[in-house]
């Protein structure tokens, strides 16, 4: 009789100890969690401004390089401020420089992931002034070379009338609307020319140029 009472008592104490133990764990994790969140939120507030500025600078730098205004000697923010006027048409942003050349963003799917970039055209939208790549995940060394200056330079002065053609590597450009492709990356080339042509067509429609 007495032994069972003792057992009962011990059980109760154990239960209490268990509860306290659980409570301790909960409090511990709550304290740690709120400490961590407080720290991160503060840090985020601090770095968010910097991060947004970096993203904007990167984008503006690419716009400048597509319009061939990127001579490297000036501050990107300053050069952008001085040369570019921004126009909004039907949800698309156009970047115009002092000579009237227009740059805008294009994007689409590539071989491995999304490709996006900026193409700059002359005022009557017939000749490419320059091209810049914002984002690509193509095979490094093959399709990935679309982001290299050497390849991007090939587009300068190329006609887009009626549309841009990126040739397979074994043929070289004859017509004014053709560009030499990259060896081993003909699919990336096709994707790229498709998305550029699509964007140009849309802008032509929006501006009423045919």
């Amino acid at each position: 009789m007495s032994s069972s009472v003792v057992l009962e008592k011990r059980k109760k104490i154990n239960l209490k100890a268990l509860l306290i133990d659980k409570l301790k764990m909960l409090i511990f994790i709550l304290i740690m969690g709120s400490l961590a969140s407080a720290l991160l939120t503060t840090l985020d507030d601090y770095t968010k401004v910097l991060e947004e500025r970096n993203v904007e600078l990167f984008f503006h730098g690419k716009v400048l390089s597509a319009l061939n205004l990127d001579d490297g000697s000036r501050d990107v923010a300053e050069a952008f401020q001085a040369n570019i006027t921004i126009e909004q048409i039907d949800g698309r942003t156009l970047y115009r420089d002092s000579s009237g050349a227009i740059a805008f963003k294009f994007s689409g799917g590539g071989l491995w992931g999304p490709i996006s970039g900026i193409v700059a055209l002359n005022p009557d939208l017939t000749i490419i002034e320059g091209l810049a790549i914002l984002e690509q995940q193509e095979t490094p060394g093959l399709g990935g070379r679309i982001a290299e200056d050497e390849f991007l330079q090939r587009f300068r002065g190329v006609s887009v009338d009626p549309e841009l053609v990126i040739l397979p590597a074994r043929r070289s450009a004859v017509n004014p609307n053709e560009v030499d492709g990259i060896t081993g990356a003909s699919m990336t080339g096709d994707f790229l020319s498709d998305m550029i042509n699509k964007a140009i067509k849309e802008v032509r429609d929006q501006l009423g140029v045919s």
């Binding site: 961590a36 991160l40 991060e51 990167f58």
Partner: protein, 233 residues
């Protein structure tokens, strides 16, 4: 002088350094954290950035873990480690986005995935949870640097073969033909495998399998024994 060197070799800090850099090198011997070691090492600069990021995270989280090791309730210690680790990883991610955007863009989501890099968790569980802050930091540093050195080796080989450059400086000349495969995923495996082979042959210490180094699951010891491959299911 020789006496001095001998005495140095047998001190604890030296043993800790040797452990991380050579004997239990995280990538080569214990094969931990190789996802990032393979995914971001096609350029030397990315490899160094990744290595330093991991070194910082493992040092910081080991230090904190060691400092509060007597407060952590036993049953929820894994969750606590994760909380500490992810806090530091997110901080590193934010810092990189703010101050070195180019490298942050190149490493992409792999910075965030340091959270599940088993090296960090492994050090917290295996060492920092039962050692002083001072030695935990040293131990974390040696493992972090051991990881960084291997990343440096892999990325130098890969960048040289894939682009003919090291740190973006052309050293192979213009007649060099780029080995395109080296810059993509399979290249990483093909470079790391011979390195592992060579080092393990030198160490004469072959049969180290990964399960022993993963943080012990929160389970009774008897069930863990059954996880060994080969146990019939």
């Amino acid at each position: 002088m020789t006496k001095f060197i001998y005495r140095l070799i047998y001190t604890k800090p030296f043993a800790l350094l040797k452990d991380g850099l050579w004997k239990n090198n995280p990538i080569i011997t214990t094969v931990l954290g190789i996802c990032s070691a393979l995914a971001v090492t096609n350029k030397v600069e990315n490899g160094i950035a990744m290595g330093l990021a991991v070194t910082f995270v493992v040092m910081a989280s080991s230090a904190i873990t060691a400092a509060i090791r007597n407060l952590i309730p036993q049953r929820i210690r894994m969750v606590t480690y994760m909380l500490i680790i992810s806090t530091f990883v997110i901080s590193v991610d934010l810092f990189m986005k703010g101050y070195v955007p180019d490298i942050s863009r190149a490493l992409g989501p792999y910075v965030a995935l340091i959270i599940t890099n088993c090296i960090v968790m492994g050090r917290a569980e295996a060492f920092a949870s039962k050692s002083s802050v001072k030695f935990s930091i040293l131990d974390a540093m040696s493992h972090g640097l051991g990881y960084t050195f291997v990343l440096l080796a892999i990325s130098s080989i890969r960048e040289f073969l894939a682009f003919g450059t090291i740190m973006n400086i052309n050293i192979a000349g213009n007649s060099w033909t780029n080995w395109v495969v080296m810059s993509s995923a399979p290249g990483g495996f093909f470079v790391l495998a011979p390195i592992v082979w060579a080092v393990r042959s030198l160490q004469q210490d072959v049969d180290v399998e990964i399960e022993q180094h993963l943080p012990a699951p929160i389970k009774p010891a008897t069930t863990i024994a059954a996880t060994k491959p080969g146990a019939s299911l």
